[in-house]
């Protein structure tokens, strides 16, 4: 049901940039499956009212369930809303990437805070990242080798088509450094 924006709503909207910086971390740390689903739906369509969500993707949910969940997301400062007729139109305040970044940051912060030796989890983290970087370098190294092979094959095909005799006199694989 539509209601006039209260004084709290007005203060809430005025303080939203500040809350975005100071309170977002605490509020977004926990999301239930229903909240996640509705947030996903809003990211897909950009903006929607309760009725639009119920009619488009969430027809298995009751109108009141969607309304309550969206209200909860709004109070968690994850959605903004504007009065539209007798209902509210909800819009996500953050992109999916922003939310993921914040969630990852929160997880790391909790990990660091949980250990009495503050540097220990950090060293695990560095270790994992180093492993991942090494793996990335391995992948890139394989890519370079594959491209080199393709380049050599292309070159040999070209030289075959130009000079079918000379290929018998060129040592295989020795042209890399000369190139």
């Amino acid at each position: 049901m539509w209601r006039r924006p209260s004084l709290w709503d007005k203060i809430h909207s005025l303080l939203s940039p500040v809350k975005r910086i100071f309170h977002f971390r605490a509020s977004s740390s926990q999301l239930g499956p229903l909240e996640e689903r509705l947030l996903e739906a809003l990211w897909r369509c950009g903006t929607a009212t309760v009725r639009e969500l119920v009619e488009t993707g969430c027809d298995d949910l009751a109108y009141t369930t969607v309304m309550t969940t969206l209200d909860r997301l709004f109070k968690k400062n994850l959605l903004s809303r504007q009065a539209e007729g007798r209902a509210f139109r909800y819009t996500p305040r953050f992109t999916r990437q922003e939310l993921h970044r914040e969630a990852a940051g929160e997880a790391f912060r909790q990990l660091l805070a949980a250990s009495p030796a503050g540097s220990l989890p950090l060293s695990y983290l560095v270790e994992i990242i180093s492993e991942r970087d090494a793996q990335l370098l391995d992948d890139l190294g394989r890519l370079v080798e594959a491209k080199r092979r393709a380049l050599r094959d292309g070159d040999s095909r070209n030289s075959d088509s130009r000079d079918p005799v000379s290929r018998h006199h060129t040592p295989k694989g020795k042209d890399k450094d000369i190139a």
């Binding site: 970087d133 990335l136 890139l140 370079v144 380049l151 450094d177």
Partner: protein, 326 residues
């Protein structure tokens, strides 16, 4: 007194123009940068450096071409006009900016010099390197020194006396082709005077422009990559050199005023490597240069405009400085 007043006025105008333009650059550089994103790395690096130096250049030019002449020519010498608090405060700000810049640059120079001394403590000259950067193009002969510490693997150091340092570990890891392209990369940095530009940036430090400088640092690495290679095989050699040297140390400690081959976050290194793997002629971008005649015409037009309006402009600048002094 006349000279002192003139100095205070000139420094005040310099500070006002410099700070206003720096703030304008802080607010607008991202938009300009995003608008020109698809251009070649070389053009991007030039644009970013021009944007970064624009406030200093413009402020210095306005002060030298307008403020000082207007004061010298139009200010009556006989009148002992007292200076207000505002110009004195601005002049003090200017002095503080200059001192901060000089200290910042001197500190960067000292740190770089210390690091280079430590690296080259037991350095020995490398064998004669063939001096044929990209496509047999002639290049300035630069001494290449072998150093014992594994890091930096390869780096170009020095501003007045440029040298390239190559670690023994790097030399043993790389093939001849990889070494040559890596050397070409460092030579590109030296040719473009990147270490001198880094020193200039230390001198004109301004809050809020760190991200512009970071973008420029990334752009000069991509430019040096582009200038180091001229065909897909060389691009693969350089990519392979980057991969091998990244394994020596994923993130080398950044040393000011040097141009290490491998540095920066792993994500940037993988961007460079992927870019080299997908190398094509278009990466370097068309070498569109303004013709000599266009430059000459633009220069003559500017001189003509100033010749006709200079006295009027000087009078206006003098009025403005009078207002500032009071």
């Amino acid at each position: 007194m006349f000279a002192a007043r003139g100095i205070v006025v000139a420094v005040s105008v310099f500070v006002i123009v410099y700070c206003a333009l720096s703030l304008a650059v802080v607010c607008t550089w991202r938009k300009v940068w995003l608008g020109k994103r698809k251009q070649s790395a070389r053009r991007a690096a030039n644009l970013l450096f021009t944007l970064r130096m624009f406030p200093l250049m413009a402020a210095a030019m306005i002060t030298a071409a307008f403020t000082i002449p207007s004061f010298v020519l139009l200010e009556p010498r006989a009148i002992h006009e007292p200076l207000g608090g505002m110009p004195l405060a601005l002049a003090l700000c200017g002095a503080a900016l200059g001192i901060f810049g000089a200290v910042n640059a001197a500190s960067a120079l000292r740190k770089a010099s210390r690091s280079i001394s430590a690296w080259t403590a037991a350095a020995r000259p490398a064998d004669a390197w063939p001096c044929h950067a990209r496509g047999g193009e002639a290049c300035a002969p630069v001494p290449v020194l072998r150093i014992s510490p594994p890091l930096p693997a390869m780096t170009a150091v020095g501003i007045v006396r440029p040298r390239i340092l190559l670690s023994d570990a790097a030399e043993s890891l790389l093939t001849a082709g990889e070494l040559q392209t890596a050397l070409n990369h460092e030579l590109a940095h030296l040719r473009r005077g990147d270490n001198l530009k880094k020193l200039l940036l230390r001198f004109v430090a301004f809050p809020g422009l760190g991200s512009l400088e970071a973008a420029w640092l990334r752009a000069i690495e991509l430019t040096a990559d582009d200038e180091a290679v001229s065909n897909p095989a060389q691009a693969l050699d350089l990519a392979s050199a980057l991969i091998k040297l990244s394994r020596l140390g994923m993130v080398e400690p950044p040393v000011d005023l040097t141009a290490a081959l491998v540095h920066g976050p792993a994500s940037f290194m993988s961007t460079r490597i992927e870019r080299l793997i997908a190398w094509s002629e278009e990466h370097r971008g068309p070498s569109r240069r303004l013709s000599l005649w266009c430059g000459l015409a633009a220069g003559l037009a500017t001189v003509a405009v100033f010749a006709f309006t200079y006295s009027h402009l000087l009078a206006q600048v003098h009025t403005a400085t009078e207002w500032l002094v009071r």
